[in-house]
């Protein structure tokens, strides 16, 4: 019986090994009312001033409430922790907090919670990705110099008056500054964040409607509704389980298999089936994202006077309707201005502002390009990274459209760049020799955010180096305007200069998409394409 003993021993060894590696798992606490949602591994540790992508943003949106919060429907910045934010000169602001807000560890939310958090977020030594958001507060360059060490620990522009009040002084006038405060980088932080940073990162503590129950990095996070939450937007479900998926196709199949309740990014491959699979449990709505093709204005072949005709001609040679239908299954909308419909009319979105220049007209396109002296060297090459987002497909389609309109053979070609890191490098080093893709997701629903960083002289993301004195002046004036409607009008005047000069061709507005199971209802996306988790009901 020696053989049999050996076999038994082997089976035993294998089962022991399997059991041993399997320990630590099991025992799911699937209580009633938990939403199971897809997630991606956040790029950085989850802390407000260090999270600049949507996955970490989902968690922050559940864990934190800042001074303001954007209404998921209208995009209006509504007071949350703030009682009021007052100013007389558009530069000095006095912030007053509401009573009764606490962190889930019992600490009170005070003026100091905000001032400390902002000083931390701005300081160069904290290495927070979002520090530039504090750049318009006075004293920022002392804590975050362009090079070298910080000269101060705190920004001089932030002063705590009492537990409920603090004042902010900006570098220059910026009337819509209070409206930017809905961004998550401006969240308050509890004392415990500074006392034991490591422990806080393991289990973040905030003042929002949820608390972190458990966090397995790289795999999942369980958030539970916080019973003692006193804010106006108490969670309508028992909690949210975020499960990490590396591929959104996999998440989508799990949704169909009933293993998941919410997928907030329907993969492009599945768009054809989504109506059949989910019927009305599919959301496709505008987000604060616009895709453009930017010209390298620093290259005289594209930037010299007179070339605006060629740039406009190219814009008119692109059949946006056809491409958004064929390639994107209507998850993109042809763009007719440089903002986004998610801003709404009141926020500054104006359909058709671009006018003729964004309308498909092959005859006119041809004529304009000829009048402008033709394409530089008779050619145009489109550049983008092609590792994500169906960029290859639409670039091919745009080139086809241009080639057909001009009728001179393949004058438009595609220059695919393998990785995003490489593309970004070429873009930020101003090494482009032809038009290139630029996607912009706004940080807050303000028309200012769609224009100033992208097209003002020295703007942080002005990758085409567009420079126009009138544009700069109008933006400056708009920022000083105390009346919102007047400010928006000024910004739109500035936008009209873009329509004349065409430093960037607006292609289409990008939508946010989501699909959900029959078990949940009340699913909506905010303008950042993040599900409004607290409003979801589990049936």
């Amino acid at each position: 019986m020696r053989g049999a003993t050996h076999a038994k021993w082997a089976v035993c060894a294998v089962s022991v090994a399997l059991a041993a590696t399997a320990c630590g798992g099991g025992g799911s606490d699937d209580g009633a009312g938990i939403v199971r949602s897809s997630w991606g591994d956040p790029q950085n540790p989850i802390e407000p001033a260090n999270t600049n992508e949507v996955q970490g943003g989902k968690v922050l949106d559940m864990l934190f409430r800042g001074l303001k919060r954007y209404d998921p429907k209208t995009g209006e910045a509504q007071d949350m922790v703030a009682e009021k934010i007052a100013t007389t000169d558009q530069q000095n602001f006095t912030v007053t907090l509401k009573d009764g807000w606490t962190f889930s560890n019992g600490e009170k939310v005070t003026a100091k919670s905000f001032v400390d958090a902002w000083n931390y977020g701005a300081h160069i030594d904290s290495k927070q990705n979002n520090s530039p958001f504090f750049a318009n507060i006075e004293g920022y360059e002392d804590v975050h110099p362009e090079s070298g060490n910080a000269k101060a620990k705190t920004m001089s522009g932030l002063v705590v008056k009492d537990a409920k009040t603090f004042t902010v002084k900006l570098n220059e006038k910026f009337s819509s500054w209070p409206e930017t405060l809905g961004y998550q980088a401006f969240s308050p932080l509890p004392e415990s964040f500074f006392k034991d940073h490591e422990a806080w990162l393991e289990k973040p503590v905030g003042n929002g409607p949820y608390t972190v129950d458990s966090y397995t990095k790289g795999a999942s996070m369980k958030l539970r509704a916080w019973d003692a939450y006193k804010g106006p937007d108490k969670a309508k479900n028992g909690g949210v389980d975020l499960v990490v998926y590396t591929d959104n196709n996999t998440a989508y199949t799990d949704l169909l298999a009933g293993n998941l309740d919410l997928v907030d990014d329907v993969p492009a491959k599945q768009l054809k089936n989504v109506k059949a699979d989910l019927a009305d449990r599919y959301i496709n709505q505008p987000a604060l994202i616009i895709q453009t093709v930017v010209f390298p204005m620093y290259d005289p072949r594209w930037g010299k006077p007179g070339m605006e005709k060629v740039r406009t001609g190219l814009s008119k040679a692109i059949n946006r309707d056809e491409i958004t239908k064929q390639i994107f299954e209507e998850t993109r909308t042809p763009a007719t201005d440089w903002t986004s419909p998610a801003l709404h009319e009141k926020g500054g979105y104006k359909a058709g502002l671009c006018g003729d220049a964004c309308e498909y007209d092959p005859e006119q396109a041809k004529k304009l390009i000829e009048e402008g002296g033709g394409l530089p060297g008779g050619k145009v090459q489109l550049t983008s990274n092609v590792d994500t987002g169906s960029h290859r497909e639409w670039m091919d389609a745009v080139c086809n459209s241009i080639n057909n309109a001009l009728g001179k053979g393949s004058v438009c070609t595609v220059n695919p760049v393998g990785t995003f890191a490489d593309f970004k490098n070429q873009q930020s080093n101003f090494k482009m020799t032809g038009p290139f893709r630029s996607g912009w997701q706004a940080d807050y629903p303000l028309i200012q955010n769609f224009l100033q960083p992208l097209y003002a002289t020295g703007g942080s993301s002005n990758y085409g180096k567009f420079e126009n004195k009138d544009f700069d002046r109008l933006v400056r004036e708009a920022n000083q305007e105390s009346d919102q409607a007047a400010a928006v009008a000024k910004f739109q005047d500035a936008e009209k200069i873009l329509a004349d000069q065409m430093p960037a061709i607006p292609l289409w507005y990008q939508n946010g998409s989501a699909g959900y199971s029959e078990l949940v209802s009340g699913v909506q996306l905010n303008q950042f394409s993040v599900p409004v988790y607290d409003q979801i009901k589990v049936d």
Binding site: P45, Q128, Q441
Partner: protein, 308 residues
Amino acid sequence: MGRYAARRLLQMIPIFVGTTLLIFLMVHILPGDPIRAMWGDKAADPAQVAALRHEFGLDQPVWKQYIDYMLNLFQGDFGKTFGGRQVIDVMTEAFPVTLRLTLLAITIEIIVGIGLGAWAGLKAGKAADSGVLIFTLLVISIPVFVLGYLARFVLADELGWLPPNVQDSTNLAELFLPAFVLAMLSMAYVARLTRTTFAENLRADYMRTALAKGLPRRRIVGVHLLRNSLIPVITFIGTDVGGFIGGAVITEGIFNVQGIGNLLFRAIQTSEGSTIVGVVTVLVLVILVINLVIDLLYAVLDPRIRYA
């Protein structure tokens, strides 16, 4: 044998240094700036980029980066990810997942592969043999990603027998499908190998001796034939362990297994040098050690083999 093992261990040192250096250089020549890419389409803050580049040593010449890395490595420090976590922590989360998947796959491979092979070997030349041949050739000729999606479509989506993806990697039921797909290809090879050695050994002298002694067939096949036929199969399976741990990128990707393969894939996408080199370093070590163990095992299984 002791001297042999010592020599092999010494040989590992240049191999180890060579492979890590190669990977290090390859990561270094990837185009683009991974730090700047962390800001997505937004502008990166130059002061911040400079601070991060300094923190990760990316502002140093590449030879200095490599030496620093190796010196830290010998103190057990694998460095940090761009997200600020210790690479060693990230790896200790991912390795058990992959290890579990590997063990399950190997188990499936042994049971099904050897079973099928033995059956075909005993029935050499008959219909069962041809059937197994066709089946294994089919499996070998299908790429693993096709197999993966196909298996999920049939077994999970249509029949609903198994969960389609892995949400919790400690759940063996969820791991079964990826393990099955991972095991398929090697299983086919194991079946072919077992079948051949079985058919060959059936005609060996010791088999005739056993038969002449009047032993029951069960004992002849189960002890004499099986033990002697498994020597090449076991070494094949041994090399597979190393392959499974490092090469499950596709399978882990399809079934959302948050293991080493997925970790490596994501790290390559973001050019996260510290993680890539760390994972590969561990994999190189694992494969070197497994190979040594297999070679030593040879001598144990077959007394005719001697190492000096």
